[in-house]
């Protein structure tokens, strides 16, 4: 098991290398650099700008720049953000925790909805319960997240004013207090719920179909032939087998949420990685952009690994050595 994890980490190295190369080249291929904006500034001295470029190494050949960047990145140093004037890691850190927190709460909402609804729908398939759940799922599939999020924001953020309409925490509360924590929760609920209400529908349908598939399997009939009451046929046999692929999907789900936070964070002005990414792209803050892409890439690989580990933990037929 540990050997397997180690091996997977070793495999990640070339993957990350390739990713970093692509990311770096693409960032370089973008027109302009962090100083381009200054060129239209009448007070900026072009000679001075060139001097700064030289100093920052922006005039060096790409492979030198890449080597410099990569060596530092491996040591956890992604350079200085041109717009924030602070180390990239500092810029990212707070945002990263905000995004992870949002992803975590979203995931909880997603499963809180998906598990009961999926079970009801699968167990009582083709009844009115199942039909309403499936109807909801179709709505979920059909509704674009950004429109739904805007509606949620309008209703609960502005019209009813139940939740704050932006930010990740109230600026007036002191860090470390209970009020701070409550404020964080308050800020995360609306974006998390908006994502969960849409994203959960695929998990509901997945669970439903797993249950419908599993409940006619031979081993379920064997369980019944032992005199196992129906409720236990579900809890000990059908559900366990139906949860298997969903549990295994958890890793991908987490990466999906971290990677897919751009839209939701922008709509709710939630200071997370996604929002930072978008603003950094428009400000041409390459060091931040590349760092975020690298981190998302790393998170994806970790998510895949996590999924494999979960699968091997819950399914005895899958052995990893």
């Amino acid at each position: 098991m540990w050997k397997f994890i180690l091996r997977r980490f070793l495999v990640m190295i070339p993957q990350l290398f390739l990713l970093s190369l692509i990311v770096f080249m693409m960032a370089k291929a973008m027109p302009g650099d962090a100083l381009s904006g200054q060129e239209i500034n009448p007070r900026a001295n072009p000679a001075e700008l060139d001097r700064i470029r030289e100093e920052l190494g922006l005039n060096d050949p790409w492979y030198q720049q890449y080597a410099r960047w990569a060596t530092n990145a491996v040591q956890g140093d992604f350079g200085i953000s041109y717009t924030h004037k602070t180390p990239v890691t500092d810029v990212i850190e707070d945002r990263l925790w905000n995004t992870v927190f949002l992803a975590f709460v979203t995931l909880i909402f997603t499963y809180m909805l998906a598990i009961p609804l999926g079970i009801l729908s699968g167990r009582y398939n083709d009844t009115w319960i199942d039909k309403s759940v499936t109807g909801y799922s179709y709505l979920g599939f059909g509704t674009p997240i950004f429109i739904f999020a805007l509606i949620m924001l309008f209703i609960f953020g502005f019209a009813l004013d139940w939740f704050p309409s932006g930010g990740s925490v109230d600026s007036k509360v002191e860090e470390g207090t209970l009020a701070y924590f409550v404020s964080k929760i308050n800020h995360v609920i609306l974006p998390a719920l908006s994502t969960a209400l849409i994203a959960t529908t695929s998990t509901i349908q997945y669970l439903r179909n797993e249950i419908i598939d599993n409940k006619i399997k031979d081993y379920v009939r064997t369980a019944r032939s032992k005199g196992v009451p129906e409720s236990n046929v579900y809890s000990r046999h059908i559900l366990r087998n139906s949860f298997l692929p969903i549990a295994a999907f958890l890793g991908y789900e987490i990466t999906g949420l971290i990677g897919g936070s751009v839209i939701i964070e922008t709509i709710f002005s939630y200071p997370g990685l996604g929002q930072l990414f978008l603003s950094s792209v428009s400000l041409r803050d390459f060091s931040v952009v590349t760092a975020i892409v690298m981190m998302t890439g790393f998170a994806t690989l970790l998510g895949t690994l996590l999924s494999d580990i979960i699968l091997s933990a819950v399914d005895p037929r899958i052995r990893i050595e």
Binding site: Y219, S225, K226, G227, V228, R236, L244, R317
Partner: protein, 341 residues
């Protein structure tokens, strides 16, 4: 004579297809006695599994209707509700399925799957259940019971899985075990071992066994009585000796293959072609077998053949068979019906 355990009378089980019900088990009656192996034979689709699952009441209730009586221990199982039936299933009646890999839960250890049976029907302690499970695994001839206890189904061979399946079925010493093609998925050598094992367990527990198979040769050595089914009906039944020595129904003869016909001793039986009709398309007027003996004109068949006794305990559905000569393969000369009586 041994005591009767299970008495089935006029059992009809129908499945709903579209908006109509179609019988897959049609007016079946038979008895299983203590210490007896009753073999149910017939081709694929003739209703053997439907019969077994009706006895266990494992059919989907929304789509299935069972009528008649299944008497066990003074009560008609068909009148019991789920809770009452759960006390019978696994405890009084055990079932062994055809495909031991799919019939076992892939996520549960063999030990747990056997213990689950004990969970609901005994008051044994945790240790007691484990002890009993190891004992069962030993009884069914599993070489390393302690190890197998902790293994998952996919870690065992087909034969071992079927042994584990048998220990689930017999965990609570049931009075009757229904084995639905227990050896079909296994190698020939293993098949014999599994049948011997069932016989061996029976000699100790005196349980009754319903052995379902499509292969008559399987039952020759182990069974006491044979029930031949065709299209949901019993077409012939009798002791193994009677059925093998004096098979009367053309279908039984075709299953036994190359048994000389009553009138022309030297001729082999025509190999009967075709398959069992599906329950929705089945013609329920007249004899259900007539389409498969096309060389005999329809009129010559009995209109509504009934089971009738020809020798003690030997019943056949049809009387006109004796008037027919069954054409041997390659024997083109005798197309017409030989009416020797």
């Amino acid at each position: 004579m041994n005591k009767a355990i299970l008495k089935i009378e006029n059992l009809t089980t129908s499945f709903r297809i579209g908006s109509n019900y179609h019988a897959a088990v049609d007016d079946v009656s038979f008895t299983v006695n203590e210490n007896e192996i009753v073999a149910v034979v017939g081709e694929s689709g003739c209703g053997k599994s439907a019969l077994a699952l009706s006895i266990m009441q494992l059919h989907n209730k929304q789509r299935t209707k069972s009528e008649g009586t299944i008497n066990y221990n003074g009560q008609n199982l068909l009148t019991l509700n789920d809770t009452q039936m759960n006390k019978v299933r696994g405890k009084e009646l055990g079932m062994i399925f055809q495909e031991p890999l799919t019939a076992l839960n892939p996520l549960m250890t063999i030990g747990k799957q056997i213990e689950e049976n004990l969970d609901y029907h005994t008051s044994l302690s945790k240790d007691g259940k484990k002890k009993r499970t190891i004992e069962l695994l030993t009884q069914v001839g599993i070489p390393y019971p302690e190890r197998t206890y902790k293994q998952f189904p996919h870690e065992l061979s087909g034969g071992m899985r079927q042994r584990a399946m048998i220990s689930i079925a017999i965990a609570c010493n049931p009075a009757l075990v229904i084995a639905d093609e227990p050896t079909t998925a296994l190698d020939v050598t293993i098949q014999a071992q599994i049948l011997d094992l069932l016989k061996d367990i029976q000699s100790r527990t005196k349980m009754g066994i319903i052995l379902i198979t499509h292969d008559l040769s399987v039952v020759a050595e182990v069974a006491d009585r044979i029930i031949v089914m065709y299209a949901g009906q019993v077409v012939e039944t009798g002791s193994v000796k009677e059925i093998f020595n004096n098979p009367l129904h053309p279908y039984t003869r075709s299953l036994l293959n190359s048994i000389p016909s009553a009138t022309h001793e030297k001729n082999r039986l025509h190999v009967i072609e075709g398959i069992v009709p599906s329950i929705a398309k089945m013609d329920r007027v007249g004899c259900r077998f007539q389409d498969r003996i096309p060389w005999i004109p329809k009129m010559a068949h009995e209109q509504r053949p009934q089971l009738h006794e020809v020798a003690e305990g030997h019943f056949v559905r049809c009387t006109c068979y004796q008037d027919f000569y069954f054409q041997a393969e390659g024997d083109e000369s005798t197309h017409d019906i030989t009416q020797s009586r």
